[in-house]
Each structure stands twice: as C-alpha cells, then as structure tokens.
C-alpha cells in the first residue's frame, strides 16, 4: 500500500515544553487515519508541523513525497486543511468565502459541490459572522474539501457539533475516503475514532502510547468486557469492599453529568461470574443493583487503562 505521510521521530519543543516528543507513524494512501488524545496531547501541533505551518524541532516528515519545510508552497496546493477554531472574514458570505478559497487552488472542487457536501446550501448567502458554531465548523470542513487535495487534514472536525451534525460529517468523511482521498483526522471522541478510522494512534503528552486499527487496539489491550450498573449509592467503605471482593479485574467509577447518575464499571473476563457476584454484593450491603448492562470495551476504556486517566479530563 502506498504511503501518503511518513513521520519519523518528530519533535516539536517550545523551550522546555515538549509539545511533540519523538513520534513516528505512517499514513496509507486513501485511508482514514486518526490521531486520538486528550486536549493538549500534541495533536494540533503534529498536524501544524506536518503541513508546514510550524517548524519542527527535529525528525523527518514526508508528505506526498514532499518536505513541508522546503516544498511548503507546492505541498499547500495538494492538501486541504481545516484548522481548529477556524477564523474567516466575518463579513463575507458562506459562498463568497468558499469561492475565495477555491481560487487559491489549481484544481478546486466547485463551490456548489463543497457547499452541498457539508449541507450548507440553505445558509450559503449568510455572512460568516451570523453563522452558528456548528455551521462555521462545517464551512471550515468545506474549505478543506474545496482544495480537492490528495490529503485532507481535519483538526477536531466534530468538536461542538450536535450528534446529528456529527453523524452527517462522518458521512462526508467516509465519502472522501470512497473517492480515494487520504483523511488525517484528530479527535478526542472515542466513538468517532472507532467508527471512522482504519488506523489510529493514541497520543498523550506528546508521545504515542499505542497504535493500530481500533479492533487491534481493543483486542490487544482489552480482552475484558465492561459490566456497568448505576451506582446504588455505595459509600466509601462499600466501594472498598467491592474492589477487594475479587469479582472483577478492575473497578472504575464514572461520575454522571446530571442527566444520568453515577456509574460503577467492573472490567471482567468472566462476565457471568462477575454479574452474579455483583448482585450478591448488592444484596449483602442492602443496596440492590438494578439496570446492569454488559458492553464491549471502547477506546475510552483503552485510554483509561493505558494512562490511568480519562480522555476528557
């Protein structure tokens, strides 16, 4: 398989701050590549270094056979980029903005097509300053697509979108792949990375802590299942007892967000035994367990296991 991007031992330091600290990966042509990590992990810095917006401290980068340092201008013509928190001319309309950006590229997509793909047809006459956050985001993605580039870089494309808009954007990204475009995507949404990406790297504090396909990562780091049930109101003592009760490999607690209550998660390789022991435990302490579910582990679980932290902390 041909390679679109090859990165070796890339480093980007800001004084003593190591934003990116020696990462290596390759991106196959025509694939959706995901870089997953919490805020501040170094995702944006990586993208901006690959596209030549930032100078690297050390390492090697090859994009479409070009060096982002030396062949910056040539490279820009062949890629489309959506930056995080994009800013545009506030008083131009959606259509005017897309036309402007289209004029920069040698073989751009037509403005209609770009507008249509991100579903902005109804707002094409609106000024950028009057767009909602979600619309602005979709416009930014449209600007990356209008380049008709061989690689499209999307830096957290779905942050701040409602679930419906996110799903729509996922479709757009899948369509790009269908056309043979390589997509480089960063996200801190696990489900997004899991559904979209053929290959993933998980990055934390400037270093890659795991890479592979989502399935591979889950298999490698997780043979367990997650047994979840709403916290029946366990106090600290009871929580300790639950952890020491040898009914699962690990116990984790997830705080609810107001809509949902707190969750207790038991990671287990023997689900049946864990469930029955858990039910017994609940009866013993006089706090019966209700609404218990079993699910496949997600990348969220992988990240938690690898770093001991949640991804959105």
């Amino acid at each position: 398989m041909a390679t679109s991007i090859e990165v070796r031992n890339l480093k980007k330091y800001y004084g003593s701050v190591k934003a990116v600290d020696g990462i290596s990966f390759s991106v196959g042509a025509g694939t959706i590549f995901g870089m997953l990590g919490p805020n501040g992990a170094g995702k944006t810095t990586t993208i901006e270094t690959i596209i030549g917006l930032l100078d690297k401290t050390d390492g090697e980068i090859d994009v479409l056979g070009l060096d982002p340092d030396g062949d910056r201008e040539e490279l820009k013509k062949r890629i489309g980029v959506q930056l995080q928190n994009p800013s545009l001319f506030p008083r131009l309309t959606v259509r005017e903005t897309i036309n402007l950006f289209a004029s920069f590229y040698p073989q751009p997509l037509s403005a209609e097509e770009a507008i249509d793909r991100v579903g902005l047809s109804e707002s094409e006459g609106k000024r950028v300053e009057s767009l909602s956050g979600g619309q602005r985001h979709r416009l930014a993605v449209a600007l990356a697509m209008v380049s008709n580039g061989e690689i499209v870089f999307l830096d957290e494309p779905t942050t701040g979108l409602d679930p419906q808009a996110r799903r729509r954007l996922w479709e757009v990204i899948r369509d790009l792949k269908e056309e043979g475009v390589t997509v480089f995507l960063t996200t801190h949404y696990m489900d997004e990375a899991q559904t979209l990406c053929g290959k993933l790297v998980i990055i934390d504090r400037g270093k890659i802590i795991a890479q592979g396909s989502p399935g591979y990562l889950i298999d490698k780091y997780f043979q367990e299942r997650a047994v979840e049930f709403p916290d029946p109101g366990l106090n600290e003592e009871e929580k300790k007892a639950l952890e020491g009760a040898d009914l699962s490999k690990r116990v984790s607690y997830e705080e609810g967000d107001g809509m949902e209550g707190n969750l207790v998660i038991l990671y287990s390789e023997d689900v049946t035994e864990t469930i029955s022991k858990a039910m017994d435990f609940g009866r013993e302490v006089g706090k019966p367990i209700d609404g218990l579910t079993v699910r496949q582990p997600t990348l969220e679980d992988v990240f938690l296991k690898l770093t001991g932290r949640r991804i959105r902390e």
Partner: protein, 370 residues
C-alpha cells in the same frame, strides 16, 4: 506555458483576494465612516465655519466728547477703515461692552472744535483696549494713530510726503477655507493609512491570516490587495473632499489634477507604510490602536494643517519639522490652492519619501503574520 499559467493563476488569486478585502471593507460600517463619511463631515464643518471669506472686522467703540464738526469728522474718518465696525455710545456703555469682550477697542474723544485745534491746542484722546488680545492690538492702535495723524496734517496743512498704498498679493486672496481644505485631505490620507491597518490587525488577531496561511494563497498577494484597496480609497476620499469643497464652498483650485493625484498617492503610501510599521511592532489589535492614537493625535495638531506653524512656540518646532503630515499638508496646499510654500516641493517630497522608506524597512524587518 507554465509561466503564463502561473501568472494567470496569480492574477486570479489577486483579484479574488482584492474583492474579498473590498467587500469586507465596504460592509464594515465603522471603517466606512472613518474612511469616507468622516472626511466629508470634516470638509462640510470646516467649510461652514470658514465660509466667511476671511474678512476680519473689529468692533470699535467711540465716545464723543461733544457733537462738533471736528468730532464728527474723526468719526467719519474712522468709519472709512473697512475692517472697523464703529459703535458710538456713552463712556459707560462702551467700557462695559469692552469688558464683556464685545469691543476690540474703545476711543474716548475729548471736546473738540476746529477753532481750538487750529490754534494748536493739544487734545488728549484716551484709548482702551483688551490687554489679552496682544496680536490685534498693535495693528488696531497704529490704524487709529494713522487717522489722527492724517487729520493733524490736514489741519496744520503740511504736505504729504509719502503715499503708501498696500495691495494684497496672492496669499491675501486665499480664504481660510482654501488654506484648510488641503489640510483636511492630508489628514484623511493619514487616517486612511493609520486607521486602515486596524483591519489588518483585526484579521491577524482573530487568526484569519493564519487560516489563509494553510492555503496556497501567496501572502504577498493578500498584502498587495490590501494596499491597492487603500490607494483606491485614497482616490475616492480625494474626489469627495475636492468636489464638496468646490461645489459647496467654492474652494480655489489651481493645481493640475495629475500632480495632485501623484501627491495623494505618495502621501497615502507613506501613511499606509507607517500603519504597517505600527502593525509590526504591536502584538495585539489593542496595543496597535493605542500606538496609532498616540501618533495620529499630535500629528494632526502639530503639523500645521489647520493653522500656520508660525503660531506655535519655538520649542515645539523641531517636532513639527519631523512630522510627515506637515510636508504632505504643505505640498498639497502649494499644489491645490497655490498657497505660499513653507518648504520647497523638493524638501516636501524628500521628507515624505524618507518616511516611506524608513517605515517600510522597519515594517518588513519586524513583520509578523501571526
């Protein structure tokens, strides 16, 4: 072939970027106000204030000692002085009017008669004036003395040896508004260059320029399209100011349009590059705004575009001499209305070019896109 294609492509990019910049500008009411409405308002206000045509008159109060022919002849002679507007009243009334600032001068005549004058009796004329108006007093007093000297010569029948006739030349024909209008134009060009850079600072601060940096848009094309837009705006400003000045206030226009246009371009370029120089030094929009206010305000008042530099105290003159607006104002005044030059055209152009070069060099040296 490839060269031609890339030239065409660059022209297209430049055109689209220019259109985007122009739309962004024309849809920004604040910017439009400063660039177009403000110069118009300024021209109209100054036009109205100075449309008196530059005729200055002084109100002179006269208190008669008696109603004799001799007294009346003096009053008549004073009336002959064009710039005097005579008010005759009692001593009390006139002194009060002087204290209230309604008289420039009050003359108190003693009892006079030709027979007594003929006999050579000395008469004392009291002259009261407002001590705070130093500039005008000397002129007024000498004019009054002149009247009495004439009368004395008439009575004593001594021959008149000198006849001094004063004939106004050129500068006298200029109204105050003629003097002011090129100044308004110079000020507008300064504001265009300095305030115009706010748009750039704003786009830079908001990250719009950074967003453009990931595209193949050559940064120079963005910059050049901004400069072209400012130069065109300068032309529009000039037209508005000149047309309004001519149509509404009949400003005197003598210079060739081409030379005026050339000066406008040089002036606009100088202040545009000063604007970008500030943008290079300023990290944020806010600090840029402060620096520019700090520059433009004193420049406006110390450059002699609104009143002659001679009015200013000596210690401020070195500052005045350094300000580019001084020279642009002078160059425009000479060319547009034919005002007497403060500096030669060569000096004016050299100073403007000097500022243009220095600020361009500094702008490039400390340039920041982000």
């Amino acid at each position: 072939m490839r060269g031609k294609n890339s030239l065409e492509r660059n022209l297209k990019i430049f055109k689209e970027t220019f259109i985007a910049n122009a739309k962004e500008f024309l849809r920004d009411r604040g910017a439009l106000f400063w660039m177009l409405a403000f110069p118009i308002i300024f021209t109209v206000i100054f036009g109205i204030v100075f449309s008196g045509g530059g005729e200055i008159s002084f109100t002179v109060g006269v208190v008669k000692g008696n109603d004799s022919p001799a007294t009346n002849q003096i009053v008549e002679s004073l009336k002959q002085i064009k710039t005097f507007q005579l008010e005759v009243g009692s001593k009390e009334e006139e002194m009060k009017a002087l204290e209230e600032g309604n008289r420039s001068l009050v003359l108190i005549l003693p009892e006079l008669s030709f027979s007594e004058l003929g006999r050579g009796k000395e008469s004392r004329v009291e002259l009261y004036y407002d001590a705070t108006r130093q500039n005008t007093n000397q002129t007024l007093i000498s004019a009054v003395k002149q009247v009495f000297a004439e009368m004395e010569r008439g009575i004593s029948e001594s021959p008149k040896l000198f006849a001094v006739e004063s004939r106004p030349v050129q500068s006298e024909q200029l109204t105050n508004f003629d003097y002011i209008l090129p100044g308004i134009l110079a000020m507008s060009l300064m504001q265009l260059g300095l305030f115009g850079v706010f748009q750039f600072l704003n786009l830079r601060e908001k990250g719009v320029l950074r967003g453009l940096a990931v595209t193949p848009l050559p940064r120079s094309a963005f910059f050049e399209s901004e400069v072209l837009l400012r130069l065109l705006t300068a032309m529009v400003q000039t037209l508005l100011i000149v047309v309004i000045g001519k149509l509404l206030f009949d400003v005197r226009l003598v210079g060739s349009p081409l030379v005026i246009a050339g000066l406008v371009m040089i002036g606009a370029m100088t202040f545009i590059s000063m604007g970008y120089m500030v943008a290079s030094f300023a990290k944020t929009l806010e600090s840029g705004r402060n620096i520019i206010q700090l520059i433009q305000f004193p420049m406006m008042f110390l450059s002699g575009i609104f009143f002659p530099i001679d009015f200013m105290p000596t210690y401020i003159k070195p500052v005045v001499k350094a300000i580019p607006l001084t020279y642009l104002g002078d160059a425009l005044r000479q060319t547009m209305v034919g005002a007497p030059p403060s500096h030669s055209m060569g000096v004016n152009l050299a100073v403007l070019a000097g500022w243009l070069v220095v600020s361009s060099v500094l702008a490039i040296r400390f340039w920041r896109w982000e």
